[in-house]
């Protein structure tokens, strides 16, 4: 039941934020305003299922207008720096997925007005995997990926 309360609370706080944001900007689309934490997408165990739950589709196009920058070797699997760049127009969101994590979806960033196609953050990885950047622009999904090697208990060897 505690969980139910939290859900209600979250919905409530998002709604209040949405009203003030809409008044302040008048620019945001309803999709941006009504964003709530998509628990199904974060619980999904495959990349396709996570994207279906998050974006309604997992049909992605590889694009050279999406770049991902991550280390070849993740020396500390709990802190893997990831940067995503995109030169696409009308970017709605940038998501980061780790193919072989138990739940691939790691983070999704909804970009509002004036935000450049750039995100820099740090993620955790369970094992060697592709890290996939998915950019939603103009209603379509574009991706780029990079393999990051994780050496268990490793010292960077």
């Amino acid at each position: 039941m505690i969980n139910m309360k939290r859900r209600t609370f979250l919905k409530g706080s998002v709604a209040v934020g949405a009203v003030s944001a809409a008044m302040g900007a008048g620019l945001l689309t309803p999709r941006v305003v009504l964003a709530a934490w998509p628990s199904n997408a974060f619980k999904a165990t495959t990349v396709d299922a996570a994207l279906d739950a998050l974006a309604g589709s997992h049909a992605m196009t590889r694009s050279d207008k999406v770049q991902i920058d991550a280390p070849d070797l993740g020396e500390n699997s709990a802190v893997v720096p990831v940067k995503v760049f995109s030169q696409l127009d009308d970017i709605e969101s940038i998501s980061i997925l780790v193919e072989k994590n138990a739940s691939p979806l790691t983070a999704s960033f909804i970009l509002g007005p004036g935000v450049e196609g750039f995100i820099n953050t740090r993620i955790k990885m369970g094992k060697t995997s592709n890290v996939i950047a998915v950019v939603k622009a103009g209603g379509k999904l574009y991706s780029a990926q990079k393999e990051v090697k994780i050496t268990i208990g490793g010292c960077g060897g």
Partner: protein
């Protein structure tokens, strides 16, 4: 003490915003070595960044974002003195926010 550190610096074209949040980001999969019991999940789910009161970025996070999460993004149309506000909410309903004028 706020859990949030913000750095916002206006450049020629874009303002670079960096934030560091003090949060354990527990996945719920880790075990306490002494008791053998799982440490309950405790992670930030949503981070909202505002520029002068307008939402510019919403981050939805799962437990696989690193402990002491770091976030950096770039903003057009912001100038020195504008206010960046960052707020987070975690899966336990805990929250915090902080503001910083762009330098």
């Amino acid at each position: 003490m706020s859990t949030i550190k913000i750095r916002a610096k206006a450049g020629d074209k874009v303002t670079k915003v960096s934030a560091l949040i003090e949060h354990p980001m527990e996945t719920g999969m880790r075990k306490d070595k002494k008791t053998g019991k799982k440490i309950p999940a405790h992670f930030i789910q949503e981070v909202v960044c505002e520029l002068n009161g307008t939402v510019v970025l919403t981050a939805l996070w799962g437990p696989a974002v690193s402990k002491r999460p770091f976030l950096q993004f770039k903003l057009h149309g912001a100038k020195k003195g504008d206010i960046i506000k960052l707020s987070w909410v975690d899966n336990k309903g805990e929250k915090d926010s902080a503001e910083k004028a762009i330098a």
